[in-house]
């Protein structure tokens, strides 16, 4: 599976969907999920909380390690994926789809995110 062309990407390996009515979806890339190994626990930001681009807003725990979750954008969290909280394996099986993490109402246009091709080159994926 390749990185979806319509998404933008951060160097912390998050993806951001195109915004609809100012709200975009955030997840981690397949490359990141593969590097983590089996994800067993996901801690997401709370609905209504404010996230800032490049800052931690949660954590992803796998068999071997724990990684901080960074927000690729700034804004207000409008929804979190409860499915992935109860079944973290979705992050591994469908990182770009059912394994999405949270939705955010953008407070500013994201700067310096990568295109799919740029991210592929950056991550070697």
């Amino acid at each position: 599976m390749s990185n979806p062309q319509q998404f933008r990407y951060s160097k912390e390996h998050e993806w951001l969907s195109p915004a609809e009515d100012g709200v975009a979806t955030v997840g981690i890339t397949e490359h990141a999920a593969g590097a983590l190994g089996d994800v067993v626990y996901v801690q997401l930001p709370e609905v209504g909380s404010t996230v800032s681009a490049g800052e931690t807003c949660g954590e992803l725990e796998s068999t071997k390690s724990v990684s901080d979750l960074y927000s690729p954008v700034s804004g207000e969290v409008t929804e979190v994926n409860e499915d992935v909280v109860s079944d973290p394996a979705l992050v591994n099986s469908a990182p770009f789809e059912g394994g999405w993490l949270f939705k955010v109402k953008l407070s500013e246009e994201p700067a310096d995110l990568l295109s799919a091709d740029e991210y592929a080159e950056f991550s070697g994926s």
Binding site: G34, G37, D38, V40, Y41, Q43, E61, T63, K64, V66, A89, N92
Partner: protein
């Protein structure tokens, strides 16, 4: 600064005889004790479940083999190690330890008696050189030769309830007669092998020591023989969760130079009653003088979902530190995080209330349980 390049492959990880095969299988590789080893091939949880329910195939060629030969090989080992090896029957294996003079554990070992005057010591990869040096030094006064056989063997393990049936398809050796912790020379898939019924997963299984040149052939034969039973290649990641569930210690975590066998609850491996060399062995005086340990190894089971890791503090209800996690992981079998930890004896009783692990600043409640977490149905 010099202009000369570093020596070839200085610090480069060593590769096992199965390296190309692992890469062709798409393994995620990791540096482990100076070796490039497969961490996982796909999902480590699926690999774990395969070993618990069917069978898994492991490359363990990083383990360090050291051979002692000669009329006093047994006496030398009895002097060098805490166990009784002179009394070990030919064909049997024993779990034992090598300690420093101060009683600290240098490594935990499996020793096989291959013949009347031949023993094979299997050390952890990270300690192989230390063990080789110590055995060489400690055997100096005995009529025995210590041989570094680290490069003489590849080691392949097949582990899981289906392991006996799978192995039986590629060998005529009497596997039924091969009891737990025994080993015998035989032929597997047409190649000479030392077949041992040992393992580090909590399941039935075998470890096969073969010449590195024969490793690929054996791996492929076992892969084919196990296909119908769902045997899969398994990496070190699931090996760690398997041994953790089985309550088995890992050197560098539960066992270190600053712990004695008694600290680790493994005092049974120390044989004060052995009679060779007048009963003396390296570390004896220190181990005899060691008092009752103030901490005990226990199992911890999470009530929440955050995973404790080695080094995390164990805390009491009032927040005081009462111990330290030595190993922790999400348990695929229990479906929740588990850990092994040293805790003050006052809190070590299974069922002790109010015990928590400090996970990045949050005190997560944990249940104290007896080890192991998992025991197979025999």
């Amino acid at each position: 600064m010099t202009d000369s390049p570093p020596p070839a492959a200085a610090g480069a990880p060593r590769r096992t005889a199965l390296d190309a095969l692992h890469r062709s299988l798409g393994a995620t590789m990791t540096d482990f004790a100076g070796w490039d080893m497969p961490l996982r091939y796909g999902s480590e949880r699926e690999e774990h479940q395969a070993v618990r329910t069917r069978a898994g195939l492991f490359d363990l060629s990083h383990m360090g083999e050291i051979t002692l030969t000669g009329p006093q090989a047994g006496e030398a080992l009895d002097h060098a190690l805490v166990g009784n090896l002179a009394g070990l029957a030919v064909g049997r294996a024993r779990y034992t330890m090598i300690c420093a003079p101060d009683g600290g554990i240098l490594d935990d070992l499996i020793v096989y008696r291959l013949a009347e005057q031949e023993y094979m010591v299997v050390a952890n990869a990270s300690n192989a050189q230390v063990v080789l040096d110590a055995l060489t030094e400690r055997a100096a006064g005995f009529d025995t030769a210590v041989r570094d056989d680290r490069d003489a063997y590849a080691l392949i393990a097949v582990q899981g309830p289906q392991a006996p049936g799978i192995l039986a398809r590629v060998t005529d050796a009497d596997l039924d007669g091969l009891k737990y912790y025994t080993g015998l020379p035989g032929t597997v898939a047409g190649v000479p092998a030392l077949i041992a019924r040992t393992g580090y997963t909590g399941e039935d299984g075998f470890e096969l020591f073969v010449a590195p040149a024969d490793a690929e052939k054996l791996w492929q034969a076992l892969t084919e023989a196990g296909a119908a039973d769902g045997l899969v290649p398994c990496g070190l990641s699931c090996r760690d969760t398997l041994r953790l569930e089985a309550g088995m210690p890992l050197y560098g975590h539960e066992l270190t130079t600053s712990t004695t066998p008694f600290d680790a609850g493994l005092g049974r491996v120390v044989k004060f009653d052995k009679t060779t060399n007048g009963g003396d062995f390296v570390g004896r005086a220190a181990l005899e003088a060691a008092g009752t340990p103030s901490r005990k190894l226990v199992g911890l089971v999470a009530e929440g979902r955050r995973v404790p890791r080695a080094g995390f503090p164990v805390v009491a209800a009032d927040g005081s530190v009462i111990g330290e996690v030595t190993s922790g992981a999400p348990s695929p079998t229990l479906g929740k995080p588990i850990a092994i930890a040293y805790v003050d004896t006052a809190y070590a009783e299974p069922g002790t209330e109010g015990v928590a692990v400090d996970i990045r600043g949050t005190h997560e409640p944990y249940q104290v349980v007896a080890l192991p977490f998992y025991k197979r149905q025999r």
